[in-house]
């Protein structure tokens, strides 16, 4: 289960994440992203607490859904 991040992001860490994903960022730019990234991670942690099971993610979102 994911835990909520509490101000633990650093420019170095954010720049490293971007670099692993294929984009070089200088530390000033990485620092600008922190206030935008934190709420996204917090929101993801809340989604992670839901019991979503092994929902497939291919096809229309309503595929196989029960309407009743």
């Amino acid at each position: 289960m994911a835990s909520e991040p509490k101000g633990s992001l650093t420019p170095e860490g954010v720049a490293q994440l971007a670099q692993w994903a294929g984009l070089r960022l200088d530390l000033d730019r990485a620092a600008e992203l922190i206030p935008l990234l934190e709420p996204l991670l917090e929101g993801d942690a809340r989604i992670a607490r839901l019991e979503l099971g092994l929902t497939p993610i291919l096809g229309p979102t309503w595929a196989g859904a029960e309407e009743g």
């Binding site: 730019r29 989604i47 993610i57 229309p60 009743g68």
Partner: protein, 445 residues
Amino acid sequence: MELLTLSIAEVGRRFRSGELSPVELTELTLQRIEALNPRLNAFITVTPSKALEGAQRAEQELRSGLDRGPLHGIPIALKDLIETAGIRTTCGSKILRDHIPQQTALLARHLEAAGAVLVGKTNLLEFAYGIVHPEYGQTNNPWNPLRTSGGSSGGSAAAVAAGLCFAAVGTETGGSIRIPASYCGVAGLKPTYGRVSLEGVFPLSWSLDHAGPLARSSEDARLLLEGMLGEPLPAVEVELGQLRFGVIQRQGPEVEPEVLEVFDAACRRLEAAGAAVQEVRIADLELADTALLNVLLPEASLVHQRWIAERPEDYAPFTRIQIELGFTLSAMAHLRAQQFRRHLTRQFLQALHRVDVLISPSVAWVAPQEDPVVAGQAGSAEGRRSAPHNLTGLPALSINAGFGAQGLPVGLQVIGRPQAEAFVLGVGTALERLLPEAQKTPPLA
């Protein structure tokens, strides 16, 4: 001006009776664009030669008995991220400012085949991604040019509202048809995900992107959608008094009192017409803001990965930040958000088992001075009532429900079951009849 605000059906009747000709109407439309576009900035490219050529062809065909249907000879516009062979398609960006496609998008080819007359390509937020590029500037609102027309299909909404075309195609990923429709007081439909082909439409986030119509009425929007699809989409006649309406997202700290007032008044009119109106709760809807961004940001960053590495300075500053942000999100966050979409869709489908349609305010507020950025708090609040339906893919329509204290339009949103756009548009038409005082055009000289 009166001719330019007629319904598409009435224009078609006049074309066929000989009272009006496609060339005459297109000339009037082009004159109005010339007069008002400097103030509104709704068009990036106007195509007068192509428009007049198309109008002449339509006129000859109609005279000779070749009738292509309701859009034959009707002036329309396309958002400038829809490819048009030989006509530049900028995506509102510096990066593609000189881009002239060799192909025309499938939906635009369908519209050509229906005889629609393209008058130009409309302004948008840069790559439809939440902020205006300074090279193009904001589309100003026809109801108050000191306000925005909304994003990202603001040019299409403003052009329709101001009588610069009869209908226009927009696209959206989190509300970019319905938000400008709400701000400009027109009808804007996000069809079911996948219903309209996106071939030849520049992507923002492929699993959330939709193309749809904007028009001055739900019926005109239906006719444009039919043309985009290239197949019949029959009108559905709806009796409001026999329907069950589920109200969602009526309240929230971001909802302006004038929006709530207009929305509640519309609900009371529905009840007076005999409809059943009840509040409905959608579980976990409050997580939709995050889920949208955790899907959208990485997908958009992948689309832009080459340009953001090679020419980052060519993006507007906040577009660049949003693209960079997408590189920092994990695959787990993205996939969980994708899973959440299925969960959210189940909640909506269960609600739509108990009611015929869901309704909400389209946006929490009337048109602001500027568009908020997508990834910020204000951007999330702006899209809070539209974005859930990009996540689920269900059809959602914004119609004008009235005007707030400042005289600016207030949209009401109708959400239906998958593939039920004809029914949703039928509900929109019935609501427009119920709220005739809201069906006005802006007082532009």
